[in-house]
Every structure is written in structure tokens, then in C-alpha cells.
Amino acid sequence: MKLPALRLPTWREAGHEARLLLIGIPVLIWTLVPIYHMFVFAISPKEDAFSGKLWPTHPTLHNFEIVFYQQHYFLRDFWVQLGNSTVIAASVGALTLFIATAAAFAISRLRVPGGRMVLNLALFTYFIPAAFLAVPMYRTMGNYGLLNTSWALILAMVTIASPYAIWVLKQASDKLPVELDEAAVMDGATSLQIFRLVYVPLMMPSLVAIGTYAVLLAWNEYLYAFLLLSNDRDITLPVALGNFLAADDSPWELLMTTGFIYALPPAAIYYAFRRYMVGGLTAGAVKS
């Protein structure tokens, strides 16, 4: 019986492998350094954090304790601000889903008159950089009397999230066969029944992707939050993080700890829904 020979890699293969590593290792370092730095700060006592060590001599969870018990001037409203972030992100997700699903259904399935134009207007809004819309939006919210309320940020984020949501959902619903709707109409289903019983269940993967997109967009938003909200008990976590910089002797280890806590939910959500996100979002993002 002949044993399968153990084949050593040829020089060429080994060289190829080495080249891949030569790319992979810098990429890994480049990606992780800012995040690792944040993590090291979060587990360092103040003296270690400011000494530029690559790993603290006495790693500790004390910083997390200070944050959770709100034992610092900058952190006295931590839980309220975390709550604000959560409520606002969830509301933006729900409202965007509602508005965008209805609009995409109307444009794609019901062929509403003027639907094409609405879609183009939405697409136009999507392409205008949000930072440019921020200035007039700030004034508008002032005119509506919404400044310094959660509604200002929720409505602003829904405005920014829904164009892309409508566009992606419209693309996805165009792929559903027309025969489905026709069959349902034959059976005497009304438009609302088709929406509820046929459309929404079939669109579930895209809806999950869009809901996640809107929630993450709102949770991560800094510029609009910092323009539209200002009272310490109204602001969201990112604005609170920005406010740390106001002092000359900012407690950077606490800033990094809070930042680390704030960055965990979106990362977790992203990885949990990665399957939907990668398929749903990249497909829609650039149609080649």
C-alpha cells in the first residue's frame, strides 16, 4: 500500500504565502491600533494610562465602576444619556422602517402616480452630504420649536435615513414576482392585506438590514446630536463624549471607558446581523 506522500510547499507557494502575511499583518495592526488603544485606556488606572504603556502594569475594571456608578462630574448623567441614545436609535429605526416600507410598497408594487419622481427626490437627498444639511436643519428645528427635544434628533435622523432605506427597499421589492400580487388580488385581497400578509413577510431580510442601518446611523450620529440637543440630561452619549474635551484636564481614561461601552452595542449589532447587512447594504450601495 502506498502512503500519500507528505508534500512540502514549493518555494513559489511559500513565497506567495509569505507575501500574503506581509500584507495581512500590517492590515491587522492598522485596523486594531485605535481600538486597542481605547481598550488599554479603559482597563488602565490613571497613572498607567498617561505613561504610554502598551499594556497596563495593573489592569483594573475600576474605570467601568466609576462610569456605572456615575462617580465623576462628566459622568453624572451617564445612564440617562445611554437611555436617550437607546430611545432615539430605536425610534429612528421604527419610524424609518414604517415610512420607507410604506413608500417603497407604494412606488414599487402599487405604482403610485409620481412614484418615480418621489424616488428621485429621495435619491437626491441621499446624495447631499448630511453635514451640509445640518446648518439649515438646525434653524428649521428652531423655527418648529423642536430644538433641545428628542424629536428634533429623531426627525432629522429619519430624514437622513429614509432616502437610502426607500431606495434599497424599492430595489428589493422590484425583484418580487408580480404574479404574487396578481394572485392575491384574484383571491380578493385588498392592498393593505397584500402589504401585511405578502409583502412584509417576503421582504423580511431587507427590512432587518434597513432597520439595523437606521438604528446604527442614529446611535452613531454625532454632528446632528450635538447641534440639536444641549441640556446635559437630553444629550446622547456621543455628545457627552465630545463634552469631555471641554476641560483641560479631561479624565481620558474615563472618556475611553465610556467610549468603549458606547461602541460595544453597534459592533455587536453589526456582527449579529452581518449576514443581512453585507447582502442587503452592499448590494444596494453601489449598483455597477
Binding site: 402616480p113 412614484g115 435619491l123 455597477s288
Partner: protein, 291 residues
Amino acid sequence: MAITLAAPDSAVPGAPLPARLSTPQVWGIVMIVPYLLVFLAFVVYPVGYGFWLARQPSNYVALFHDPIFARAAVNTLIFLVVGINLKMLIALFLSGFFVQSRSWIKWLSVIFILPWAVPSIPTILSVRFMLNPEWGMVNQLIFKFTGDDGPNWLNDPTVALSMAIGVHIWKSLPFWTLILMTGRLAISQDLFEAAEVDGASWWQKFRYITWPSMLPLYLTCTLLSMIWTLGDFNSVYLLTGGGPADLTHVLSTLGIRYLRLDQLNLAMASIVCAMPLVLPLVYFMMKRLSR
């Protein structure tokens, strides 16, 4: 109520509308009205109001006499030209790396997406402290290995702007790499096998197969990235705050700076000045996407 609101949208004005429209179409109008309301209240009204605020020519005279504006315009161009080309070239290169089938590369690609998945505020602030001249990790390492004091990174406008570009690339590179990867994976494998048989080199395969197939996608990505980079407020604002001495502002942070100084007219005027660059890009993107 909703039907009367949407009536001007319909093709037959004046006619008794509900009679002309089928029931599904009435439902369609009802379902599209929420978005139209959002659009009117939070896009049309603010934009119209903003242009109205920026209508006076004196605003633009004042703007062009502000040295910070000129500097911001130049910075924006540098940010766009250097940042986008560097980012897209690296993304193109890395997309070729990440399509290799190795299990460790699969794992690396999962980690690689982190900058895009985590919010920018804590990570940018982390970089900001890393570059702190006295206590930052970078300068402490430089001191440890060379015995010299490192540069004062964020105090030199050129270095500070380069760092902001670096942060921008760090944040958005994963997304574009992912997009370009889907482009690479869409190329038929037969082409490469045929090229292999013909003895084509690595460069020839890239030059004659990969690049021509990816060119339209690459251009679309570059333009889209240009629009988004124009609106990148966080990378500059959170890293340098526009400093030192307001020398690293870009147009998106400049608008906010004027707003904070209560010069709303100038804020709007500076944004209007970006429109000749934004609108053609938007027009082109819309043409591409609504084909």
C-alpha cells in the same frame, strides 16, 4: 385628508380624483404621504430657507475676504484628492488580498470591518490622544526607541490635516474594500483560467482582466466616496477641531464653525459655495443609479 394633500402630485388636476384613481393607487398615495411630509418639512423647507438666508451677495464678499474660508477650500481639495485616491487605491489592492481563499484571511476580514462597525467618536478621540505630544502612545514609543521627542503632531497644520485624512481612511476603508471585493468576485473565473493557460503574468491578468471589469464600479465608488468625503465632519472636527489656529478646517466643519459663532448667513454661504462641486456629482450619481 391624505388624498387631498397629495392631489397636486397626480397627473389629472381638477378631475374628481378618487373617481379616476383605482383603489390600490389611492392606497399608494396614502402610503407615500408620510415620506412626502418628512421631505417637505425637513428637506424642502430647510434648503429653501437656507438659500434664502444666503441670498445676499454681501455674504459672499465677506466669505471671500475671510482667510479661513480660502484655507478651508484648499484643505477640502487636498482632503478630497489625496484622501480619496489613496483610499480607493488601497481598497482596490486589499480587495484582491481579501478574495484569497485562506481561513486566516476570512478571519482577518471579520476583524478588518471593525472600524466601519464601531462609532467614530470614541475611535477618533482615541487617535487624538495617541498623538498627544506629551502623554500619547506614539511619542512615548518614539522617545523610548530614539531618545528624541516626537513631533507635536496636531500642532502643525500639514501634519494635522494628514492625520485627519488618515483617520478618514481608517474609518471608511473597510466599506470600500468590501464593495470592491463584490466587484472582483463577480468577474468570471474562466477568464483567469484562460489567461493562466496562455501564461499570463500577475500584472497582465490585472491589467487586461481585473481592471477593465472593475473600472465602472471603481469610478462609481470614487464619485460616491467624493460626495461622502465632502460631508465628512467627524474626522476633522474630532481630531483637530479645525485647529491649530483654524488652519485645518474643511468646508463641512467651516459651516458649523460659523454656525457656532452665530454667523448663520456665512454658514449657509459657505455651503452654497460647495454646491458647484456637489451638484454635478449628485447629478452623475443619480444618472448612474436610476438607469
